[in-house]
Subunit: 433 residues, 2 copies
């Protein structure tokens, strides 16, 4: 029986240093749980200063080949982040028969299809609990605990930066620009925040979650993505008035007949929904399955130690597999090929805010434009005047198709009486029938 | 490689019939995930009518020996419930080298210590995800995903009956007796509700959670248990006024110096705490770990299909282990022996409601009784008069020890001016320093 599992660690940034901290601090307990000692054999470091620092305690190298060709190394833990060279390192590690643990959502979302077969061929583990939701257990629960379910939907708040920003906008009535500046000052948002606020980060995580939940390979191109950049404070306030909270929601749904929908977009949730109360940098994933019913997993979705918690949990799991000679025990679960849902089959209510002339007959013209696309209006509120003879209208529709909504908005924009269609926001609310 | 895993199912009550439903309905997907077919080989049924019904589709028997001695049966799924003969069946199954899946919290809480070594000796799996929190993944996350953490606390709403009742009391201002009657009519409470309302059911689940979280064997005797039977509507209302919600909370905490605390009791939680918003029959478990930070798992804590979701997840996991010849991969994790915390070291704020004479000097006498035990008062509210010259007082203390509180209450009860100490309720609130 193996008495020590050796790790080659790639990268000691935020998460990597968290992993060192956890593996050191909790070494004795971890060894008991894993069934063997777990040791850092070698670390890949590019930064010379950091290398000098770590070199007092660990063997360091700036050459990946030193790690992948070391026959004593059992697990390569990739925490460099971004696509390259992380993807090439992971592929090479798998090809060399090394188990791989990573938290790299960028690589998984884009190259999962290429990498999983390598893990399978070489009968090694390829684990990534830390890639979605930081420390929150979600990948393993989906692959194991909930494996008996047909999952019908996965909805997540999976980007802490934007959730922090939306919470601030709601609670402190701050504008988007101000809140972004504050988030950057506090280190919650990067200096280039595009991937977070634009929804790409959430979309990558959704691709991973949906592929596992529905057992079919979802690619980034399949996801309809829109971010929070154009979200106005007044929409957040109107939403509140109407009983909703706006979240940047990553939603994956599966319907046996219609297929799969995968979207990341600002979404209005009833304030009573468990996800509506998930605030600040917290993340949460809400899952529905045919047997399970509804369940929610909540916690810190990022950060050094929470993500290290997930990465080290994976390391322990690989070590257990090594002890029991069962690596490769759970591999890729994309054994199906499910179709995507068409725009005309994606049904939901919508919130619309528009500016129109404030005179008799205008409402009739607007209502006719909606009616022409069979869009039913559930709630319509005429808000304050926003200029000379211009009124702000806010309305919520019944369930209509994405396509019908797009066509209705086009028609509205063409109406002379309509000055502007300011906002169209998806509503997640089954009670609006 | 094994191409079919055979199950012997003991009991087809609520959960057992759910398991049949899930294994049948999702058979194709389950086989793909498990890596082999999963079939029900034989069912133990005592009820002759049910046996006749099932007999058209499955092989049934009323003799456990037929199952445990069947060499083709790989997994025995125990869903009879209660202690006996379930415990003897599980022990016999393990001794016969069968893997066991159960949702039986009664047996696990009381006989875990006896049963886990049997599983280890025979190198088989013994899984029980359904024993706590129904369909909510919590056992496997604690044993795997969070394994790298030192868990510092686990707090759960793990009894749906009492959570339903408390929610009704809070939202509909119903008295305990009325709400119990309604819960019984709706089938949410049993005709003998003692184990639920008295906290024993929650205590059993806490024993299981705490043993795993702290890697030390906790027994039922270690748990301080009090139920909701004596909880008054007015305490729920006062709590709300003070910014708290009362939940029947199962709390396990570990402090390196002081040791382990395990309690089930009505507890006041700040309304902002994620557990405070978990209502109706929903369950939730809130976990804190040194790396993880805080995380919460929420979902349906009972019922046929949610519990079957967990049981079938375990079955799939055992099947994967059989395919990879790695049964016994994760066994008992109670490798430590941690001490229990003493009453004088258990610190928390308390809520107290008492009736006292309504005249000058009384408050001074009461304050002196608290001061004698070094109990600091944070909030004191004199409420309405409750009889001839008798006033109702409600107060919240700073953090004091369980022992000091008990002594202070004894002193109070001995004061001539104090008519009654009506309620003493534990408060879970770190902001009351």
């Amino acid at each position: 029986m193996k008495d020590c599992v050796n790790i080659g660690l790639l990268g000691v940034g935020t998460v990597g240093s968290g992993v060192l901290h956890v593996l050191e601090g909790n070494a004795a307990e971890i060894a008991k749980k894993a069934g063997c000692k777990i040791e850092i054999k070698k670390i890949l470091v590019r930064n010379k200063q950091k290398a000098a620092q770590l070199g007092k305690k660990y063997a360091v190298t700036d050459n990946f080949e030193d790690i992948v060709n070391d026959p004593d190394i059992d697990i390569i833990v990739e925490l460099i982040g971004r696509e390259h060279p992380a993807k090439e390192y992971i592929a090479s590690a798998l090809e060399h028969g090394k188990n791989v643990v990573t938290a790299n959502k960028d690589v998984l979302a884009k190259y999962g299809k290429e990498l999983f077969p390598l893990a399978e061929t070489h009968n090694v583990d390829f684990m990534f609990e830390g890639a979605v939701g930081g420390g929150i257990p979600i990948i393993r629960p989906l692959k194991s605990c909930l494996a008996a379910n047909r999952i019908t939907s996965v909805m997540g708040i999976v980007n802490g930066t934007t959730n922090y920003m939306l919470t601030k906008m709601l609670h402190d009535s701050m504008d988007y620009d101000d809140v972004l500046r504050e988030a950057q000052e506090k280190g919650y948002a990067e200096s280039d925040p595009t991937a977070d606020v634009g929804g790409l980060d959430a979309a990558r995580k959704l691709v991973i979650l949906a592929s596992i939940a529905f057992n079919t390979r979802i690619s980034l191109d399949d996801v309809m993505v829109s971010g929070i950049e154009t979200l106005k404070l007044c929409d957040i306030d109107y939403a509140k008035e109407l009983g909703y909270t706006i979240k940047l929601l990553a939603v994956a749904k599966h319907d046996d007949e219609k297929g799969i929908t995968v979207c990341v977009r600002p979404t209005m949730l009833p304030t009573s929904h468990p996800l509506a109360g998930v605030n600040d940098v917290y993340n949460a994933v809400f899952v529905e399955g045919d047997a399970l019913g509804q369940a929610m997993f909540m916690g810190r979705g990022a950060g050094s130690l929470p993500t290290a918690s997930a990465v080290c949990g994976d390391i322990i799991d690989v070590a257990r597999n090594m002890v029991h000679k069962s690596t490769g025990r759970i591999n890729c679960t994309c054994f199906d090929e499910k179709k995507l849902c068409r725009l005309e089959d994606m049904l939901s209510p919508f919130y619309i805010r528009l500016h129109a002339e404030d005179r008799p007959g205008v409402l009739a013209a607007i209502a006719a434009a909606f009616a022409a696309q069979n869009v039913g209006i559930k709630t319509l509120i005429q808000k304050q005047s926003v200029g000379d003879k211009v009124a702000e209208l806010v309305l919520i529709t019944y369930h209509v198709s994405e396509l019908a909504m797009q066509l209705a908005v086009q028609t509205l924009k063409g109406l002379p009486v309509v000055k502007d269609v300011c906002s169209v926001i998806h509503v997640e609310d089954d009670s609006v029938e």
